[in-house]
Symmetry: C2
Subunit: 206 residues, 2 copies
């Protein structure tokens, strides 16, 4: 599948690399053409990956992963272009850090509102990027959440997550439930500090 | 041990009954003497439990469980009396529902600040009262969190939790981490809605 990954940081790189390994055709997008991190990532794939601007990446992809920092995600998606995101699945894995005490809408909801013709699915924001892409590295099964308004888009994303190795994907409901998944961030930060490792996640035991 | 339970609702009743079953000497506290729910609870214990005002309960107990509604907890503890809470362990299991979007301090922090000579331990607020008191009812181990400034108090509370059946007690740190445990509430509410049961909890897999 044609996959776009917006963001050249550790999260974008981890997801783009995992998608390449799973046989997808992947473009990594950045604000400007010729981004050195994106070029290094393309080189690391032996030329199987591509690089482009945010707009080129969104135009190329059927599924667009938002791996930009939460505070600049709306700007990045704006640069990607509303027209290029029309009908596309936007997988939003970002968090606003530090978690905002102002409350109100989640980033996932804000993205859906700003790009009403995109199909936004919030997921994977509750774990570190290595757990995101290789969930089997933890010693027991654990849970990832889905939030989004479009059932077909959630079904596609669920399939992608399962291809990453996820075995427990819990659909929380429409995009308003992204507030729940993003609101978990303070507990994730506290658990990271208490455990001294990023290699953890929660399992919903029921 | 002399145990005080502030609150006559389902949470207070569940915890008080569990403490009786474990052999503790338990007083259930309410705002006014002669509370009919407290009287019914005492009758249900075959007279082994006691009932009193918030102040009588705090004076009686070595460990005081705050099982009042989060929105009225500071009032209830005020009625219990600062003097009666001096040096006591206050186990705060309450949540402010619906979760406040105003952010800021957690209830646990607010209680510690209002009663600086009490030893506040935030715990158990992340699960339904039946899971609180009988964690073994879930099909696999799962996690409960501790937040508090006093290590001795946390050690006592950990022992109590283990006597309830808890096997994974994760100390998040000082009382400021109550913000993390309370901030989990929106995810708990969304998971409840998605699962259609209150009989669940999260396990921190690491």
């Amino acid at each position: 599948m044609h996959m776009g990954v917006l963001g050249t940081g550790t999260v974008g790189s981890a997801i783009a690399t995992r998608l390449i390994a799973l046989g997808h055709d992947v473009m990594m997008g950045s604000r400007t053409a010729g981004n050195p991190k994106a070029a290094a990532w393309v080189a690391g794939t032996g030329g199987r990956g591509h690089a482009g601007t945010f707009a080129e990446t969104a135009a190329f992809a059927a599924v667009v992963f938002n791996c930009t920092r939460g505070v600049s995600s709306l700007d990045a998606l704006g640069a990607a272009g509303e027209k290029n995101l029309e009908g596309k699945i936007v997988v939003d894995v970002a968090n606003v850090l530090p978690p905002s005490d102002r409350g109100g809408e989640s980033l996932g909801e804000q993205i859906q509102k700003a790009f009403p013709l995109a199909k936004v699915v919030k997921t994977l924001n509750t774990v570190n990027c290595e757990v995101m892409t290789h969930p089997a590295r933890l010693p027991a099964p654990h849970t990832v959440f889905l939030s989004g308004n479009d059932d077909g888009a959630k079904s596609t994303v669920r399939g992608l997550l399962e291809s990453f190795g996820w075995t427990d994907v819990l659909d929380l409901g429409d995009i308003s439930t992204a507030r729940a998944a993003e609101g978990y961030m303070p507990l994730w930060l506290a658990a990271w500090k208490a455990l001294g490792t990023l290699s953890f996640n929660i399992k919903v035991v029921r």
